[in-house]
Amino acid sequence: EDQVTQSPEALRLQEGESSSLNCSYTVSGLRGLFWYRQDPGKGPEFLFTLYSAGEEKEKERLKATLTKKESFLHITAPKPEDSATYLCAPRFSGGGADGLTFGKGTHLIIQP
């Protein structure tokens, strides 16, 4: 059973069309949730860390929020350069050094 599920798998938006990406997890004992952006052929790039329910972080057109069982990445008025795969990675208690569990990502395409 997957511990981390990201939805949708793929999302195509028009430029300026706001939407949200979801990351849900089934294991308790969250010790942080990380969002990354990955461009084709490159390594994931860190975006945000969230540690407690109700916490929010913002960067340009992106805002990440966290509840007890899921996190959302809200994209407001996106531009074509926001096209990428967005990965979430919760860290669970007892995970040790290998504690980040990555979702499969949401492939986002912003059409001009």
């Binding site: 990354y36 490159k42 860190f46 990675a89 980040l100 979702g103 499969k104």
Partner: protein
């Protein structure tokens, strides 16, 4: 500032040939180091992680091995590559409970 170097960027190797991918980290001491593989259309798969020199933990049985000869050097190896070893290999580091910082990746194609 901390940086991570991973090379080569692309590699094409015949089946049965050896492999050595290297990753080095600068600007931090005693990092946790990781090797991931990302196959087309699939998520990140953790292959190995290391909490210190000579300490390697393997997540999945496979044709690959890892070594950490120095504090900030992590090497991924294979004695004989298989077609199924093709993929995008990523090195990453972390300290404590922080997030991971990834290298730029190596695209390996086994032919």
């Amino acid at each position: 500032s901390q940086t991570i170097h991973q090379w080569p960027a692309t590699l094409v190797q015949p089946v049965g040939s050896p492999l050595s991918l290297e990753c080095t980290v600068e600007g931090t001491s005693n990092p946790n180091l990781y090797w991931y593989r990302q196959a087309a259309g699939r998520g990140l798969q953790l292959l190995f992680y290391s909490v210190g020199i000579g300490q390697i933990s393997s997540e999945v049985p496979q044709n690959l091995s890892a070594s950490r000869p120095q504090d900030r050097q992590f090497i991924l190896s294979s004695k004989k590559l298989l077609l199924s070893d093709s993929g995008f290999y990523l090195c990453a580091w972390s300290v404590g409970l922080g997030g991971y910082t990834f290298g730029s990746g190596t695209r390996l194609t086994v032919v």
